[in-house]
């Protein structure tokens, strides 16, 4: 079941120069949400933002009845969103997409690049509840891009790569030594080139691997057919058949 609701902003917290977390409260009880699901947000104060904007559900707090979004300012819409203040309302369509398939009692690796960490925090929490052995690899261009580490540490062991070496391992996230280990499953979200590299490594090692895609979307509910990705079953809508795909179902020009 999908909903369209106004949320109240409880808090808008700057995380870094260009990222922020919106904590959004719903009046009625939140429906169940799965990690990897997303919301389509109406940014009504942005002059140039016509369509809604999709953001992953970063965290869910059932006691406060809130969800949070982890957002990076990249354009008009996200910049306008960063200026919303406590008490203001935003309209969401949610929860959308299918989310990740959760393992139980497994050794898993979560790989997040840039703001691809957004859906991984709630994922890590849920995997933790499922008693998995959780390893989390975060990557970015420099140490300024490595965010939320403390929160991730609550659910698993954290590894870090920065391209310029300003924090921990120097190099691409996909070059991090932790990838030499054997995992039962890899979960990943981030820029396409990274996901493709992750998929390649997972394939080589024959490791189960799910990736969350961020194709541009107009509707988020499976009707515009704009967000498609080629799969073994033909073009599928990322917003309804995904956003999470098992890499074995994707036909990627790697």
């Amino acid at each position: 079941m999908k909903f369209i609701k106004d949320f109240k902003i409880l808090k808008n917290t700057a995380v870094s120069g260009d990222t922020f977390i919106l904590e959004l409260q719903l009046k009625e009880k939140l429906p169940q949400m799965f990690p990897g699901q997303f919301a389509e947000v109406l940014i009504s104060k942005s002059k140039k933002t016509f369509l809604r904007r999709p953001f992953s559900i970063h965290d869910v707090n059932t006691s406060k009845n809130t969800i949070s979004l982890f957002v990076k300012k990249v354009g008009e819409g996200t910049t306008a969103l960063s200026k919303y203040k406590t008490g203001e309302k935003v309209n969401l369509i949610f929860p959308l997409g299918k989310g990740f398939n959760l393992t139980k009692n497994k050794k898993v690796l979560l790989i997040g690049g840039g703001c691809g960490i957004a859906p991984l925090l709630y994922l890590a929490k849920c995997l933790n509840e499922n008693k998995n052995d959780i390893h989390i690899l975060l990557g970015g261009r420099s140490k300024e891009d490595i965010l939320e580490t403390e929160k991730f540490k609550k659910s698993g062991k954290v590894y870090i790569s920065t391209e310029n070496g300003s924090l921990c391992e120097k190099g691409l996230v996909t070059q991090n030594p932790v990838l030499k280990n054997k995992f039962d499953k890899i979960y990943s979200c981030g820029p396409m080139p990274m996901l493709k590299e992750v998929a390649k490594i997972a394939k080589q090692k024959n490791t189960e691997c799910e990736v969350s895609l961020e194709n541009t979307m107009a509707c988020g509910i499976g009707v515009c057919l704009c967000c498609v990705v080629e799969t073994t079953k033909g073009n599928q809508c990322v917003c309804t058949e995904g956003t999470v795909f098992n890499i074995k179902d994707l036909i990627w020009q790697i």
């Binding site: 016509f50 107009a218 009707v223 704009c226």
Partner: protein, 301 residues
């Protein structure tokens, strides 16, 4: 409650608010948001004889007060619709209209013939205006001769209500509308998308995989209104108006310009409840202005 009922030929609509092809799936996708039976009707995604994968990604780009799409008629084909989709939606208490697309007249006719037999499909919308498929689609809609030809063929093959959907990418839309009318169309719907294009200045590449795409949303409303008004003066058959309708006021403007019914397209993406809000808003407007029936304002500027 004002009288919202309108008729196209013998087909009764409980209200004049439909949803536009390609923006409403096959209806089911909206069941979490609205009661479909509150709509005058809905129009399915463009459906072709054979299943189509559509164009390559990227297919979409946001523009000022609108969007470009280059979906390219992705759909599972008419047989899948008949076998799988139709049984699920046929119980709905609203008019389900199938948008028929194709690239040859034979294809169009074959789809239309199959639809003849579906009891709960009272009408088809013949899409001769899709800008996103090479052969067919828009090509039919940009000359009187080919518009007449395809309408004639479908009119022969299809017994129920035939709506022809026109392209705005023409010098004179009234010519095409008259050609469709002359060949037996029961109504025309307009407008389909304007042909547009987007470029990414950073990558120096077109944004859409097909380079050009169809422009929709409030940005095109002034053009759509103008074409409805021109066509209203040119034909006798009813007009279904669309193009950028976001709320009841927009809808009223289309009625005043000459539309008998309207369709909600891109607005469904921004607020999936738009269509039912528009139904309510039209009723409120009529009551406020003490007008008994929505039929009374068609063309009344």
């Amino acid at each position: 409650m004002a009288d919202l009922k309108v008729k196209i030929k013998n087909l009764l609509f409980k209200n004049p608010v439909l949803t536009a092809s390609g923006t409403f799936g096959y209806g089911e996708e909206f069941e979490d948001f609205i009661a479909l039976n509150k709509l005058g009707g809905f129009i399915t995604k463009g459906t072709t004889l054979k299943s189509r994968e559509g164009n390559a990604y990227p297919r979409m780009h946001e523009t000022a007060s609108g969007m470009l799409n280059a979906v390219g008629l992705q759909n599972k084909g008419i047989d899948y619709f008949i076998k799988t989709t139709y049984p699920k939606i046929k119980k709905l208490d609203t008019n389900i209209i199938v948008n028929v697309s194709g690239s040859t007249i034979e294809d169009y006719v074959a789809v239309a013939e199959k639809l003849n037999t579906l009891e709960k499909i009272p009408a088809i919308e013949l899409n001769i205006s899709c800008p996103n498929v090479k052969q067919g689609g828009m090509a039919f809609g940009t000359s009187c001769k080919s518009a007449a030809e395809v309408t004639r063929a479908i009119r022969k093959a299809y017994k129920k209500v035939l709506i022809v959907k026109l392209s705005p990418n023409v010098t004179d839309i009234t010519e095409i509308a008259r050609a469709a009318e002359a060949e037996g169309a029961d109504a025309v719907s307009l407008i389909n998308t304007l042909l547009g294009m987007a470029i990414n200045a950073e990558t120096r590449k077109p944004v859409l995989s097909t380079v050009t795409g169809g422009l929709s949303g409030p940005c095109i409303k002034p053009v759509a209104l103008r074409m409805v008004w021109q066509t209203y003066k040119a034909v006798k058959i009813p007009i279904i108006g669309l193009g950028g309708i976001m709320n009841a006021t927009d809808a009223i403007e289309f009625f005043l310009a000459g539309a008998t019914a309207i369709q909600i397209g891109t607005a469904n993406f921004i607020d999936p409840q738009t269509a039912v809000k528009v139904v309510k808003g039209i009723n409120d407007y009529l009551k406020k202005h003490k007008i008994n029936s929505v039929k009374e304002i068609t063309g009344k500027i």
